[in-house]
Symmetry: C2
Subunit: 328 residues, 2 copies
C-alpha cells in the first residue's frame, strides 16, 4: 500500500512536492489543501483532490503524512503545531534562531495527537546540518565553514523589489572562490562576511527611475547588502525573464581538522550541492523524511524529530538487507 | 563518567584509535589487547594497560566498547562475533561482498551476549556509504559515482611487493580529473574502470633485478593493474622513505539526478574527503560510532548495526538541544 501524502500550501514548494511524489513509487498524492478557492487552483496530478484548507480535518484518516509547504515567517509557527495534532507532518522551517521554540511547540502538539512531526527538513537546514554534524563527530578538532550559492536568494530579491523605482529584480549569492580555496588548502582562515560571499543584483527599473539612487540604496541596505561587495546590473524586463527566471541554488559545507598524537595530520571533508531548482530539491528531501515519519508512526513513536534523530535507513524504500548489500 | 574503550590489535588502526581517544574528552583508553607478548608492545597512553588477547574476557566489566582493529580478510570474520558475545564492539570490516554474512554472524552473537556490534565503520564502507544512501533517497532518479584517491592502496602496494625483484613499493590510486568533471557537468557518463582511475607505482628494486620485467609484471597483473593505465617509477630506497612514507587517501561520492514534472531540472550532490592519514581518519569515525554503541546498549538495544541504522544524534557528545541550537 502506498504512503498517502497531503500537501498544504500550493506554491513553489507544494508544486515541488507534487513532482517529487511521481519519482517515489511507494507514495501517492491524495489531496492538495489551499487557502485560495479550490476551484481556482489547478494541479498537475489528475487523481488528487484540491480542497479548502478549512476541510483538512476531514482527511485525518485518509492521509498518512501531511507536507506543510507554507513560509517560515508566519505560516509554519502556527500550522505545524496545529496540524501535528491531526496528522504526521513534515515542514521545512528554516528560521535557524527559532528552531528550539518551534521544536518544543511541535513536540507537545504531536505527542498530544499521537503523531510524528519532522521539522526543518530541506538542504539548509537539512542535508547541510547533517553534514555539519557528521563532520564534527569524525573530526572533533577542526573548523566549520558553510558557503551558499551560486543561487537566488528570495529574501534578498524581495528586499530589492521593495525599493522605490524597482519594477522587478533577482539577487544571486555567490561564494568567493579564493575563500573556498583557502579553506580547502587547510589554512583554517578566519573569514569575514564580506570575504565569503559576494552579491549580484539584476534590476529592472520603473520608467524614469534614477538608477544611481537605486544602486546606492541597494548597496547600503543594512543586513542585506551593506556588509557585502555587491554588483548591480540594470537590465530589461525581457532579459530578466529570459535569463533569470530559474531558482537555482547550492553551496558548500566544509570541515577542516586534524588527527594524530601531535595533531600532525590534516583532513578535509567537503559536501556540496549544485541545484537547478531550490524548491524541487527541498521537496525531494522532504519526501524522504515523509517516508521516515510514516514508518516511525507505524512503530508507535510520537513527538517532534529533526534530521538528527532519524536513522538513515528509515529514509529509503529499500529494505535493510538491500541497503547493506547494495550501498554499504 | 567516561566511556571506557578497549583496543584489540595494535597496528596502524589501533594506534589511530589511541590517538583519537585523546580528542574525545568523554572517552578514556583502558587497555590494549595484543597477540604479541604484551611486554614487547609500547603504547602512547601512560594510563592504559597492555594485555594479552587471551585475557580479554577478564575485562568484560571494565570496558564499555571494544574496538576491533584487525584485518577484514581473516581476523574480523572470527573476532567480531567472538567478542560481540562479551563486549559492545565496533569494527571496520570492509569486504563489501561479505557484509551480509558478517552482519548475520555478528547479529546472532551480539544478541546472545546482550550487546551492540557496529560493523563496517570508517569512510568506505562508512561515510561514503551514508552519502550514497542520503543522495539516493533525495534524488531517486539519478546515477551514482564513487572515485577513490588520490591515495595509497595497501592491497595494491602489497601486490607489487610480492613480485620477484621488488624490495619495496607504494601504489597510489588516482581519480581521472576529466571523468570527475564529466560527472560534475551532469553528462551522466558511462565510465569504464580504466576511465575512472589511474594507478601509479613507486618501486625500489632488489640489487640486479630486471626493471623492464618487473614493470611488465605489474602492468599485466590481472584484477590489480591490467584494467588500468599504470605508471611505474623506479626510485631509491631513500626516496621512497622520504617522499612516500605517508598513508594519505580520500575520494569522491557523487550523485547526479533530475527533478520536475518533466525531469527538467538537474542536481548534483558531491561529497569528498582529502585525508593525510587513512587509518587515523578511519579511527576517528570508529570512535564516533563507539559512542553510539555505548548509548544504544544503555537503552537496552542489542544486535548488529551499521551506519545506516544509527540516528546521527547518537554520534555526538552534545545533547539533542545543543545540536538543534548549534548545528541544525
Amino acid at each position: 500500500m502506498s504512503i498517502r501524502i497531503g500537501i498544504l500550501g500550493y506554491g513553489n514548494l507544494g508544486r515541488g512536492v507534487e513532482c517529487a511524489i511521481r519519482q517515489n513509487p511507494d507514495m501517492e498524492l491524495v489531496a492538495v489543501f489551499t487557502r485560495r478557492n479550490p476551484e481556482d487552483v489547478t494541479i498537475l496530478t489528475e487523481t488528487a483532490a484540491v480542497c479548502s484548507i478549512a476541510d483538512a480535518a476531514d482527511w485525518k484518516d485518509k492521509i498518512d503524512v501531511m507536507i506543510l509547504c507554507g513560509g517560515s515567517a508566519t505560516d509554519l509557527p502556527v500550522q505545524t503545531p496545529e496540524y501535528a495534532k491531526m496528522f504526521n507532518v513534515v515542514d521545512s522551517f528554516d528560521t535557524h534562531a527559532k528552531i528550539p521554540e518551534h521544536f518544543a511547540n511541535v513536540d507537545a502538539a504531536a505527542k498530544e495527537g499521537g503523531h510524528i512531526g519532522i521539522i526543518s527538513v530541506g538542504w539548509d537546514p537539512g542535508m547541510f546540518s547533517l553534514n555539519r554534524l557528521y563532520a564534527n563527530v569524525v573530526l572533533p578538532e577542526g573548523k566549520d565553514y558553510t558557503f551558499w550559492g551560486k543561487g537566488v536568494s528570495q529574501g534578498h530579491s524581495d528586499a530589492v523589489r521593495r525599493i522605490a523605482g524597482v519594477k522587478d529584480a533577482k539577487q544571486y549569492t555567490i561564494p568567493v572562490e579564493s575563500a573556498l580555496e583557502a579553506v580547502r588548502s587547510g589554512e583554517n582562515p578566519e573569514l569575514t562576511t564580506r570575504q565569503k560571499h559576494t552579491r549580484e543584483c539584476f534590476v529592472v527599473l520603473e520608467e524614469g527611475a534614477d538608477a544611481a539612487r537605486v544602486e546606492e540604496e541597494i548597496k547600503t541596505m543594512p543586513n542585506y547588502f551593506a556588509d557585502y561587495d555587491t554588483t548591480v546590473h540594470f537590465i530589461s524586463e525581457e532579459e530578466l525573464k529570459a535569463n533569470h527566471s530559474g531558482i537555482p541554488h547550492g553551496g558548500f559545507v566544509l570541515r577542516s581538522g586534524v588527527t594524530g598524537w601531535e595533531k600532525e595530520n590534516k583532513h578535509l571533508i567537503e559536501y556540496s550541492l549544485k541545484l537547478d531548482s531550490n524548491p524541487e530539491f527541498t521537496s525531494s528531501v522532504i519526501l524522504a523524511y515523509a517516508r521516515a515519519a510514516y514508518r516511525l508512526h507505524k512503530e508507535g513513536q510520537t513527538g517532534c524529530k529533526t534530521v538528527f534523530d532519524i536513522a538513515p535507513a528509515y529514509l529509503s524504500p529499500k529494505s535493510a538487507e538491500e541497503l547493506r548489500a547494495e550501498m554499504l
